[in-house]
Symmetry: D2
Subunit: 160 residues, 4 copies
């Protein structure tokens, strides 16, 4: 396996339930997203959590970190809600010898117009091309979680 993909929930996985007039975080959408991409790399998708990232606890982050550490892969992508993606990125600092890229989406992957596919492709590519470390792939850029923030008002990630 060349890429380990962990999913934790977030907007990217939000689906809509008419019965509840509400959306919920559903199955990881990344499997379907990657189906059209004609990939010849091998990858494995594991759903760790299905949470809005505002609801992630320190225990959740510790669990994500353990999963990353235990993974046999050197190249790891984590899909995550955008609100606390940076916090989780920082919680992974110190994991050695692996290229870890977090990404997510501002519009659910199920939408006809969404940033999900771009972001996932960017994260998988960055996981293959960058040296070991922790990164965030959003808005067409690669960020260091120690020097990034989400600008909630403008709905985008920025360097600090």
């Amino acid at each position: 396996m060349q890429i380990e993909i962990f999913t934790t929930g977030g907007t990217i996985d939000k689906i809509y339930f008419d019965a509840k007039s509400d959306y919920e975080i559903g199955e990881p959408q990344i499997i379907e997203l990657l189906r059209d991409a004609n990939l010849t790399i091998t990858y494995q998708v594991t759903s760790l959590l299905r949470k809005d990232s505002l609801e992630l606890t320190d225990d959740d982050r510790q669990m994500i970190r353990s999963a990353v550490e235990r993974s046999a892969a050197q190249n790891i992508v984590i899909t995550h809600g955008t609100d606390t993606m940076i916090k989780t990125g920082r919680a992974l600092q110190g994991v050695a010898g692996k290229t870890i890229v977090l990404t997510g989406a501002m519009q659910p992957a199920r939408f006809r117009f969404t940033d999900a596919i771009y972001n996932v492709a960017s994260a998988i590519t960055a996981a293959q091309t960058l040296p070991a470390g922790i990164y965030i792939a959003m808005n067409g850029q690669i960020f260091d979680p120690q020097h990034a923030c989400k600008n909630v008002e403008l709905n985008r990630f920025e360097t600090i």
Copy 2:
């Protein structure tokens, strides 16, 4: 103008706001839906309300009825939330000389996979082909609101 289209909100118009981590009813999606259809009929879209249909009041229904009655068109389509579409259909009984078809969607029109386009096309076609009366176009069928219900569990409209 051949078709008058009134929009009232509902799932069909739900868009997603990442900033709020929530769906809301947005601009009428029907305009964008019809853009790809190469229509040569003339139509006009008027947004009457932007509500989840569970929140529609008797005053709202009276307002919808007035808009229908005042319209110069004989063929009228109303997009509407599914939960109380039948109730609004019944509240239109007695409007004479017009073919009025209500429709909506179980999945927002913005989704990559949605019933919105089918339902809108079905409603516009029914408004052109059926005699004067009040109808509901959902699930590929044309219902009489006096003899229909929404089966919430199975998430579909049925004849009663």
Copy 3:
């Protein structure tokens, strides 16, 4: 079964083969189109031909007519290339007791932006709501094949 659907090819079913740097008429796309529509009507899809409609012969049209006559259904939809859809419609004149609606698309159903879904929904609805006869559902209108033509320059159907 409430709707019998016959497919004959045409743009609606065109897919792309990279290996040949060319497109070809593929499997009927209508099955996939209808999957998202939450239909509760019963229907059956039968592929009669996979041809560009310019290549249809008199024998092909006779075969289509026979299939329509033999069908147990009263409501029949035929997907067809647009170039000779009217000719096939005229070749069906005289079939009694059935509502037959031909439709197709100007842009392949596989496209992100296509008139295919609208047209298919319109045709199925017209097949349910119109009296026995032969019709064409294109550009949001219902045409009588005896009084319609395709305006090739403007890429649309018109009444004559």
Copy 4:
């Protein structure tokens, strides 16, 4: 400007003309693809050619090379037909100080299901993260054009 994007045609830009019952290479599709991605990087799209890559001549390749050399950008993406993408990649060898990534698609960008978005995102990311050199981004992998071929039968790029 952070990314210079040159387009040369190929399957990625193929659109469909009903009037001709044929596909042709149209406007660069990458502009529309990137619209949904919420990019905050700056980029510029220039259409150099609109050709099937089997029709590219040595003069065309010289012209592409000149455009790359004259560009003020260090990070360059070229969209290209897949059949001779490797040949063009090799024709760029020796251009110094720039990270140049070629990409394309097996299914047109206009399709509902296409590898175009993944490939473009992968190429833009690789152009930002890899050292100076010439690369090909296809099938989720980054190839060196000196050690890659297109396996026409299996419709994918491979390392040689």
